[in-house]
Symmetry: C2
Subunit: 554 residues, 2 copies
């Protein structure tokens, strides 16, 4: 269902009840750009810490506009043994509410706009009919202003007994339609008298109208509030950016600190999990395509041919992938279960984990606890002249086997060696080098920490003014909003499975908490070794694309 400013109010109850009845929700956003500073490969350096990634996205991605929000609700139908879906495509635009409301400025990135344009994205629909919104502070301000005006009127202050038609809208309360006695362009005054009862009736009407206008101004934020209040499971694809934009645009400015972000995100009761994928891979063994059906009166998507790149479709696909992955977890149970509910305990270990795109060794951001601390003993921090290219680094480290280069900026990069014991040798050989300099990762982190302490909180990694200068698109940019990083996403899924496997004999589905009423109330996890055995039997059937998954289960 396409939702714009034109049909928004009529759709609101449909949206609310879809959320209310759903077993889980899938969301996806489309943005006017990704980075106003560094290019994609520097913005998502493979060796970012979660703090660094958060800080970079906050600084370089939040001035873009989230202008399409896709919501797909999934409700399991017991009798049909399939999910019933309802997809909503919300078009969002901060149309100024009145002359005192904020005049929002947002950045567009030409590569992102060009990508969306090539996918048939309808910009006219966004800009002409987008639904407005307010964040919480703006909403509070507007309510306060309305309240203040109301009190002034109640106290008789500023209540006009006559008004001119040219005065502002909120004073037109006692305006009666009289034949204008002057037709030329000059101002005229119209006088009318009203009795006390009529005055009160109109006052009441006006209050109701004001309330409605206020709700209109809050606009799309009401949908986000409903999602948040529902407490339903929300799944997304590479959704860190979606979550950050959602908080920033519809709730409040993002906190400086990652820890505070985690708290804001949780206290808003939005429960997120990160499961992402390529839908095609999840149609293949060992996954099974999920059974779904579109609710009557809703847009039906055909996954066989890829649709327009729109947020609703992406949310739908994300939901499908979640179902496939969840059901796949069921195959490890004894006896195996074909359907795993969104409320199943099996899913819980995946809650509140946001996939960190393109970070080599930290698959997800953990919203409800400390983040993973990967060992980076094999990583070197290298500085060099700005003329150097990746090939120069390969040449420099040619003696040390395979390396992986993660560019930081023009004159520095992380170089990961394949073997940690080579690190000391590399350090030794570089001692007398003049054109370049090598530090261990530990030395680098220590240096940065010291620098940070020296500068207080003002340490800056990227130039403040860099966004207006032209930046160059890296060849590693894999599109906009929906990067095809499937392998990495499945990787992330698998990493969480690994954690999960360390909880054998975990109870699934305690009586009464799962509305899907599975026949067997309890199930047991197979031991990791058994899983390996299973996988061994399946090995010949699995597709090449899932080798990462299988490797991780070893």
């Amino acid at each position: 269902m396409e939702v714009t400013r034109k049909n928004y109010k009529d759709c609101l109850n449909t949206v609310y009840s879809a959320i209310e009845e759903a077993d889980f929700l899938a969301i996806d956003g489309e943005f006017s750009g990704i980075s106003d500073g560094p290019n994609a490969s520097a913005l998502t350096n493979g060796l970012d810490t979660p703090e660094e990634r958060y800080t970079k996205l906050k600084k370089h991605s939040m001035d873009f506009l989230l202008f399409q929000f896709g919501l797909c609700t999934f409700k399991y139908d017991q009798t049909k043994s399939k999910y019933i879906t309802k997809t909503f495509n919300f078009y969002i635009f901060p149309k100024p509410f009145n002359r005192t409301s904020p005049d929002i400025k947002f950045i567009c990135q030409s590569s992102s706009i060009d990508f969306l344009a090539s996918q048939g994205f309808d910009f006219n629909k966004v800009f002409c009919h987008g639904i407005p919104y307010l964040n919480q502070e703006e909403e509070a301000q507007l309510r306060e202003q309305t309240e203040e005006r109301r009190n002034q009127h109640a106290n008789g202050v500023g209540t006009p007994s006559y008004i001119s038609p040219s005065s502002s809208k909120e004073h037109v309360l006692f305006y009666l339609i009289l034949p204008p006695f002057l037709f030329c362009k000059e101002r005229y005054i119209q006088i009318s008298k009203v009795d006390e009862e009529e005055r009160k009736r109109r006052e009441q009407q006006k209050l109701e109208k004001e309330q409605e206008e206020l709700n209109d101004a809050v606009g799309f934020s009401r949908v986000i509030h409903a999602i948040s209040k529902s407490g339903k499971l929300v799944v997304g694809h590479n959704m860190l950016l979606d979550v950050m934009h959602t908080i920033h645009q519809f709730y409040c400015p993002l906190p400086e600190d990652l820890q505070d972000f985690k708290e804001v995100t949780m206290c808003e009761l939005i429960t997120y999990t990160s499961l992402a994928e390529l839908e095609k891979q999840l149609k293949e063994s060992p996954f099974k395509p999920p059974q779904v059906e579109t609710a009557e009166g809703f847009l039906s998507y055909n996954t066989a041919q890829e649709q327009l790149h729109e947020a609703g479709y992406d949310a739908y696909i994300t939901g499908l992938c979640f179902i496939s992955m969840a059901n796949y977890l069921g195959s490890f149970l004894t006896p195996p279960k074909a359907y795993i509910s969104a409320r199943s305990k099996l899913i819980e270990p995946f809650f509140n984990k946001l996939f960190l795109m393109r970070i080599i060794d930290i698959p997800y951001l953990n919203l409800t606890g400390p983040d993973l601390q990967p060992k980076r003993d094999h990583v070197l921090y290298v500085t060099f002249p700005k003329e150097w290219k990746t090939s120069d680094l390969y040449q420099l480290f040619s003696a040390f086997g395979n390396i992986q280069v993660s560019w930081i900026d023009d004159t520095s990069a992380f170089v990961s060696l394949s073997q940690t014991d080579q690190v000391q040798i590399a350090m030794n050989t570089s001692r007398y080098a003049e054109s370049y300099r090598i530090q261990t990762y530990a030395e680098y982190i220590q240096g940065r920490q010291q620098e940070k302490e020296k500068l207080g909180q003002t340490a800056k990694t990227w130039g403040e003014d860099s966004w207006v200068k032209p930046h160059y698109i890296s060849s590693t940019t894999c599109g906009f909003g929906y990067p095809r990083c499937t392998r990495a996403a499945v990787h992330c899924f698998v990493n969480i499975i690994n954690e999960l496997i360390s909880f054998p004999d975990e109870e699934e589905n305690p009586q009464g908490t799962d509305p899907s009423n599975d026949a067997d109330g309890t199930v047991t996890w197979q031991q990791a070794s058994t899983v390996q055995g299973r996988k061994g039997r399946k090995k010949k059937k699995k597709s090449e694309g899932l080798s990462g998954l299988v490797n991780h289960l070893n």
Copy 2:
């Protein structure tokens, strides 16, 4: 004629010849926003100096995108005694040329976007089919890169004798279509041999293709170059912003200094004049509606009902107004002349004068000389607590008759008194005030100058980071791109007429320079007193809207 990326190359010769044959050109731009900092009333303070206005527009308006460029060419047809017009609407978008080309970021202002949306502006056409462009530096860089690659190939460096289909486009030179011997998704290598003659032929083909791609990338900038090279008279409406955007987007970054801007503008051979208006007013006496006809095959506009707010239409209307104004000048000649050519000497005093919108006492920016230095003896600079409103200022100065308030920021404003002799009294009475402070304009300017000298060139009037914060739309905003400041614009026109009148007996139309071949080669200006006499006779006919004009001619 609508010109997009799709038909751009086919239209180019039509555009070139329209420019070449024209007597004058009218231009107009549509932008993605106006101000990323102060609101409209602060951006265009009525007492700005030309330097201040230039600096503010440079700082707060240049990160928006000029995404529609209207060009209307006017050619006078002797036999028909009317102008033949050709209107072009160019849609402009900085689509990245390839993966190494700049990924431009631009700001959108929601009020401006909303205004354009309400006028039916087609954003899809801009973003999907906009013509790309490069500024001079980007063009030079691209040419250099191409040249470098060419030389490398010529020297045999990097010339691949075999390539894989996955390598980048510029290396696909020797790729021959062979039946792929592997159909799966794995990479494959194709080998082909070519003889020397074939190699040279392909090399030549490649050079031509590169040249074409390079021209495609320069894109719309070629039209601007053609306008510039033509040396034709270019008229616009409130065109300071158009000129600044045109230089900034298609030529080079704007210089810091107004003086340098004047030089850049002139050295680019773009001759501009500022004549702006409301078309309707210029249909009324003493003006006459101009005789125009649309060239065959070109979009015809109906001025009776206002069209979409598009750049081509605005350029067309601007041209009509110019003709009316120019012909009106002819009515002051003895004998009066109904048609004044765009090459007439009568027009010259208006050349290179850019209308300064909403500056009270400096009607235009003079590109070819020093700017007007208005007396501001009656102006006070007042600072006060941020709670103050305009009404507080009116109350404070209630003893001094009518005042005019020009807000600078939350805590300061210029207050113009109607009588200069009141200034000293106001200063005296304020001496012991604690909540506010008054300075004369002269004191204020002196203070600023001293501050500037202290800070070097880093004096900042507006907060550096202010653009991302929400700003409030002033009620004085009169729309986007096409503010209805007609009276002020006619004012500007009239101010220039006043200057003009100080050159009596100026020769118009020296033999051989005017292709329209007027019968009388010379004419004389009437003295100012005679003009007054003429106007006196016409007084009863004039419309009320032109009182400003007539007053100025007195």
